[in-house]
């Protein structure tokens, strides 16, 4: 199986700054991210579909996600949502999201079961079954809305520790006072010139979903901003999202 590589593989500066290292910075790996969007007038249908497929509600507000069954849903537009869930076991099929698909996967090339044609004829892939993304695909027909996989397009970073808020405030022009940007709060905003989704997953822990192609630059920028406080880089780990969002501080 091909190896997945992090966007940060070429930018891995050492732990730095002062001797005291109150801040931990790292990348969260191993999650699946999917954009689901309804058309004007089909939001209610999409909501029902998501609820029945995943058992999670769509958030009404932009500043707080909803969670259930291991899936966290952020609202990103009037009818658009980002769903973050556990790694979908090498989901096949990124390509296929949003298609009305038949329920019987048919290997197209019998001599190599690793290969399936999934395009024009909309044939189901062989590999992935029973994943939450597939469940959603089943539930959302193209007239109801669109599904766009973005797991590879976003890099998920986290900062944890007392200075986390101050480090973020060097680049994010939002009020991050704990009474204003509350725990489990989220926002789409800018980190300097790049767009980010900021999620406060603990009292002193923040996660940032950044565009993958900017991830290296943002990593360098964040670790540089963290220097005056002292920080430590933890091994890039596969952390379950909701364990974080549900409570660790």
């Amino acid at each position: 199986m091909l190896e997945r590589r992090s966007a940060l593989e070429s930018s891995d500066p050492p732990t730095g700054g002062r001797e005291a290292r109150p801040l931990v910075i790292g990348e969260v790996r191993g999650f699946t991210l999917l954009q689901a969007a309804a058309f004007v007038g089909t939001v209610a249908a999409l909501e029902r579909a998501v609820r029945s497929a995943l058992g999670v509600e769509l958030p009404k507000r932009m500043d707080a996600p909803r969670h259930a069954n291991g899936v966290c849903v952020f609202k990103t537009g009037p009818e658009a949502f980002l769903l973050v869930g556990p790694d979908d076991a090498r989901p096949a099929s990124t390509a296929q999201a949003g298609l009305e698909s038949s329920s019987n996967p048919v290997p197209l090339f019998a001599e190599d079961t690793r290969l399936c044609k999934v395009g024009p004829e909309q044939v189901r892939p062989a590999g992935a079954q029973g994943s939450w993304m597939d469940a959603l695909r089943e539930a959302v027909p193209s007239a109801m809305g669109s599904l766009t996989p973005l797991s590879h397009g976003r890099t998920r970073l986290f900062l944890e520790g007392t200075p986390a808020r101050e480090v973020l405030s060097t680049g994010i022009a939002m009020d991050l006072h704990p009474e204003v940007f509350r725990r489990d709060g989220c926002a789409l905003t800018g980190l300097e010139e790049t767009p980010v989704l900021l999620h406060r997953t603990g009292s002193q822990r923040y996660e940032l979903y950044v565009l993958r192609t900017y991830a290296g630059w943002i990593w360098e920028w964040l670790t540089d901003a963290a220097q005056p406080f002292g920080y430590e880089v933890v091994e890039k780990t596969h952390v379950s999202l909701l364990a974080e969002a549900d409570g660790r501080t």
Binding site: S10, A37, F39, R114, G119, S146, P149, L150
Partner: protein, 994 residues
């Protein structure tokens, strides 16, 4: 005088247990912790600290704060050398090295002072009237001399080793200035629980209270307020922090200086931090600064502001002289006289007013201070140090000299209205205090203390408290229960709201000697008179003509005096003369602080392809392409780009190569109306594109000129995969969103950027199919299964792959898209699969050259000034189908067949080359003017063995076969070339259909 000879034995806020060694121009000196550079120099008896801008007159310190016009130094050395630092605000640190400026050989003996001899010629605006001959370029000669004489400190080219940070803060209430009004306001707001940010440019809180004796009545009050503020959890205090400017949206920009603690940039410590504060309410408690009086030779070292002398005495324990004359037009200067009297030999007050409050004269008498009422100082004796003054009674009696070594001046107080005026609000003149005060306040802004033109301590505390309550109400907080802090008992009788000022601006007549209005820029009363005579009367003309207020102090001490004097000359009232425009920053701010960490490689964000690390590890020379870094060429093919790209091209043409095309913009278009959407967008049709097919498309903007191009593939009935140019991706994405959201909301279509989601790899060359067959065993990539412009979506090794057969190089070629995390592994897989066929990576330069051979437009040709016809693509448009830009593309002059349009060019001369940017002429043309066209892209074609180019030529391919001239006069070159089809290679497309 020996070092430290002016230091008073006890008192002050300096810490005598912590000496600080520093140097001025190499001379070693000492001061204490708590000193400023200025107080330490004054303590050491240094009187001349600078030379003026124009006449190079010796100058000493005038003030004790940010309004200092004279005492400017270059601090530090090498990469840390900072010119034009005000000695009055520089914290004294151990090892500080200061150098004086604008003088040669030294500030005490400066040859530039010869300018004083010809001063009458160097009057205001003299340079507009001369230096115009003998030749037209004569100014270039004079300018060199003038430039050398001008300027203050020197800049150095060394990079700055220091670090600067920026940050954003949010607060309910921002209090600017921690004088008595600010402390009171912060407390009122803070007690309610509001988030308060109190900023103070000084290192200590208290403002003018810090100039009171430490043992005086106000100190316990000051300390108590400071302590309570520090105990409130939502009150944040920033010291050494100056508000530079007030901007839209209740944003105030702050600069925090940490130069007193020598930060270590290696540990990420910033020298300065720039903070952008958004406050729901802003309290301006910026205080007031004392202003000088204008009289002959009022710039001599030893002429100082009365309040500054008092500050040096009480805060820094420095007596600026032994025998002081205090010249005033108001009560406030008496405090200085009374504080000085017990500490020095003799104090005399010279008061221009006739009536003086009896309490003052009584107190003066008790301290042995002589008071001369209705008297002015009309001259100063001494050149590098005051030796005496000329006293002239107002009623015209005879003048007489009086000896002294210090002249303390008070011409009244000017509220610091800068910040409250940044919002465009003009200050208004308040006659009873002879001061400009804020004309009004922006919504959510409040004023307090001396800023309001009310100068007593009691009023400061009261107005501060009131504004604090107003601010907290603005933010919706409950009013705190306790009342304002009690004002210290026994306020002096002269502590009145307006100091009983009698506005007098200039003494001693307009013509006698040099009476300075602006010290730093050497503007005298006489200059103002000349400006008036010549008609430069409006405030702005006056400033620009005389350079008044244009120095590093921005006229903090000079503006009002100048306005008043000009009003007098014009015979109008002061308010009629208007006021100057106050522009940020309030004090000069380092550009480093503005730039923050956006310097060097952080200057602008870098975008990296998912394959970036591989390129770096495999000999790629990278090149900037907009925000992206892309492989320019690879070292396997050569050490220089000139050699490498040819080798890479050869490999593609003869065997197979692969290149990273991840930077292309990628947009996912989904929805039942996706086809209709694309049909409206592109000039050509996409609705009837079969599923599994790709098509090249061009889109125009509303004006009918080129917006972008790219290939769009139909993945399903309701889903397309669009690619855009690398440079156009962001613009196109916003444009599609604009159309979907505002113009055609009835269409059920979604557009999503998936540029970051997919890695893109092009495999090109005669062996491309063989590589894929080996890389994707079992996948039928035969010409039948996957013809040119066909698309397969497959899954390989449980990873989705989009395989689109299309060619930019003209060879048999494919673009493969895989999820970005797999990009590198899949690229490596393709490389190893292609090894038997000699596959090698190729970079941007080869990519560009391959497409030139094939005549594909890109880069310089996809020019938003051009039309579809200009690119030779007019036939793509389906005019029966409405598309964006169709109407305006038909504007008469855009349709002209004589517009330059795309052609190919081949070089007809061996040993010569074509160059991008050459201008094209017909063979018979005179080489003059704009020519008939120009060259956009050039390459040596290893396939054809000659230089070929793409360019635009009037009439385009109607001239195919003609011999023309490519002129490159920058290099003195003219080269013959022939116009050809832009498709140099395989015009029938046999290779790409193979």
């Amino acid at each position: 005088m020996s070092a430290g000879s002016h230091r008073v034995r006890a008192g002050g806020r300096i810490d005598r247990t912590e000496p600080r060694a520093f140097s001025l121009d190499g001379r070693r000196l000492a001061g204490y912790r708590g000193d400023t550079l200025a107080s330490a120099l004054l303590a050491a008896g240094v009187s001349v600290v600078g030379r003026s801008f124009k006449y190079h007159r010796p100058r000493g310190f005038v003030t004790a704060g940010v309004d200092e016009p004279n005492g400017l130094f270059t601090l530090g050395e090498g990469g840390r050398a900072e010119p034009n630092a005000q000695g009055t605000v520089v914290q004294l640190t151990d090892g500080l090295r200061a150098a004086s400026q604008n003088a040669w050989p030294s500030v005490r003996f400066d040859l530039g002072a010869v300018n004083s001899w010809i001063a009458p010629v160097l009057q205001a605006g003299f340079y507009y009237k001369t230096f115009m001959g003998p030749t037209r370029r004569a100014w270039m000669f004079y300018e060199r001399l003038i430039r050398r004489a001008a300027g203050l400190g020197a800049a150095r080219p060394d990079p700055d080793p220091d670090r600067y940070d920026t940050r954003y803060l949010f607060t309910d209430v921002l209090v600017i200035g921690a004088g008595p009004a600010g402390l009171s306001a912060a407390l009122a707001a803070g007690r309610s629980g509001a988030r308060v940010l109190l900023i103070e440019q000084d290192g200590l809180l208290g403002g003018t209270l810090l100039s009171d004796p430490v043992t005086g009545q106000t100190e316990p009050w000051r300390a108590r307020l400071e302590a309570e503020l520090q105990s409130l959890p939502e009150v944040r205090i920033l010291r050494h922090t100056t508000a530079l400017g007030a901007y839209d949206g209740n944003t105030v920009i702050l600069l925090t200086r940490r130069d007193h603690c020598a930060p270590d940039p290696g540990k990420g410590e910033a020298l300065q931090i720039l903070t952008s504060v958004r406050a729901r309410a802003v309290i301006h408690s910026t205080g007031a600064t004392e202003r000088p009086l204008v009289f002959p030779d009022n710039d001599r070292p030893g002429v100082m502001m009365a309040s500054a002398v008092r500050t040096y005495l009480n805060r820094y324990a420095v007596a600026c002289g032994r025998h002081a004359v205090v010249l005033t037009n108001n009560d406030s200067a008496y405090t200085a006289a009374f504080d000085l009297a017990p500490q020095i030999d003799r104090v005399t007050v010279v008061d221009v007013r006739r009536a003086i409050h009896p309490a003052l004269t009584a107190k003066a008498a008790s301290l042995g201070v002589e008071v001369h009422a209705a008297t002015a100082v009309t001259g100063v004796l001494g050149r590098t140090r005051v030796r005496g003054v000329t006293l002239t009674p107002i009623d015209g009696a005879r003048s007489r000299p009086a000896a002294c070594d210090l002249l303390c001046v008070s011409g009244g107080w000017s509220p610091v209205v800068h910040l409250s005026s940044h919002g465009g609000i003009r200050p208004r003149y308040q006659a009873d205090s002879a001061a400009f005060v804020p004309g009004s306040y922006a919504p959510g802004h409040f004023g307090a203390g001396a800023l309001t033109g009310r100068f007593s301590l009691g009023e400061a505390v009261q107005t501060g408290w009131r504004s604090g309550l107003q601010a907290e109400a603005e933010c919706g907080f409950e009013r705190a229960s306790a009342g304002p802090p009690a004002v210290p008992e026994g306020a002096a009788p002269w502590d009145t709201a307006n100091h009983r000022i009698e506005p007098v601006w200039a003494l001693g007549g307009a013509r006698a000697g040099k009476a300075f209005v602006d010290f730093q820029n050497d503007v005298t009363i006489r200059d103002l008179t000349i400006a008036h005579q010549e008609g430069y009367e409006s405030v702005e003309h006056l400033k620009r003509f005389t350079t008044l207020g244009m120095g590093t102090d921005q006229g903090k001490t000079s503006n009002i005096n100048a306005l008043a004097i000009m009003a007098g000359l014009r015979g109008i009232e002061l308010p009629e003369a208007g006021s100057t425009t106050f522009r940020p920053p309030f004090v000069p701010a380092r550009l480093g602080a503005l730039a923050g960490r956006h310097v060097g490689r952080h200057f602008r964000p870098v975008r990296r392809s998912p394959l970036h690390a591989w390129h770096l590890g495999h000999g790629a020379q990278m090149i900037e392409a907009g925000p992206w870094l892309r492989p320019w060429y690879y070292r396997w093919a050569g050490e220089t780009v000139e050699r490498a790209y040819l080798e890479e091209m050869r490999r593609v043409r003869a065997a197979v190569g692969l290149s990273d095309v991840s930077t292309l913009g990628k947009i996912d278009v989904q929805g039942p109306d996706a086809a209709e959407f694309l049909d409206r967008l592109y000039v050509n049709g996409f609705a009837r594109l079969p599923v599994g097919k790709a098509r090249y498309g061009v889109m125009l903007n509303d004006a009918g000129t080129i917006l972008d191009d790219g290939t769009t593939t139909r993945l399903a009935e309701t889903r397309y995969f669009m690619t855009t140019t690398t440079a156009g991706a962001g613009e196109v994405m916003s444009w599609l969103e604009f159309l979907v959201q505002t113009a055609w909301p009835e269409l059920r279509v979604h557009v999503s950027s998936v540029t970051d989601e997919w890695a893109g790899i092009a495999v090109a060359g005669p062996q491309a199919r063989a590589v894929l067959e080996r890389a994707l065993p079992g996948c039928d990539v035969s010409n039948e299964a996957l013809p040119h412009m066909g698309c397969l979506e497959i899954e390989w090794d449980r990873m989705p792959v989009r395989l689109i057969r299309l060619s930019f190089s003209g060879e048999l070629a494919y673009e493969l898209y895989v999820p970005a995390d797999y990009g590198t592994a899949f690229w490596e897989h393709l490389l190893s699969s292609g090894e038997p066929f000699g596959i090698r990576p190729y970079g941007l330069e080869a990519l560009a050259s391959l497409r030139i051979e094939k005549g594909h437009v890109a880069g310089a040709e996809v020019d938003p000034r051009l039309t579809l016809n200009d690119l030779g693509l007019g036939r793509m448009a389906r005019p029966e189908k409405p598309f964006i830009g169709r109407e305006l593309a038909a504007r008469p002059l855009l349709d002209s067949p004589e517009r330059p349009s795309l052609v190919g060019l081949e070089c007809l001369e061996s040993g010569q080359r074509l160059r991008g940017g050459a201008i094209l002429f017909a063979a018979s043309d005179e080489l003059k003017g704009h020519g008939r066209g120009y060259v956009t892209s050039v390459t040596w074609s290893p396939t054809l063995g000659k230089f070929i180019a793409l360019g635009f030529y009037a009439g385009g391919l109607r001239h195919a076969g003609e011999e023309i001239v490519c002129a490159f006069p920058l290099y003195g070159e003219r080269v013959r070339a022939r116009i050809t089809s832009p498709v140099f290679l395989d015009p029938k497309g046999e290779r790409l259909h193979a």
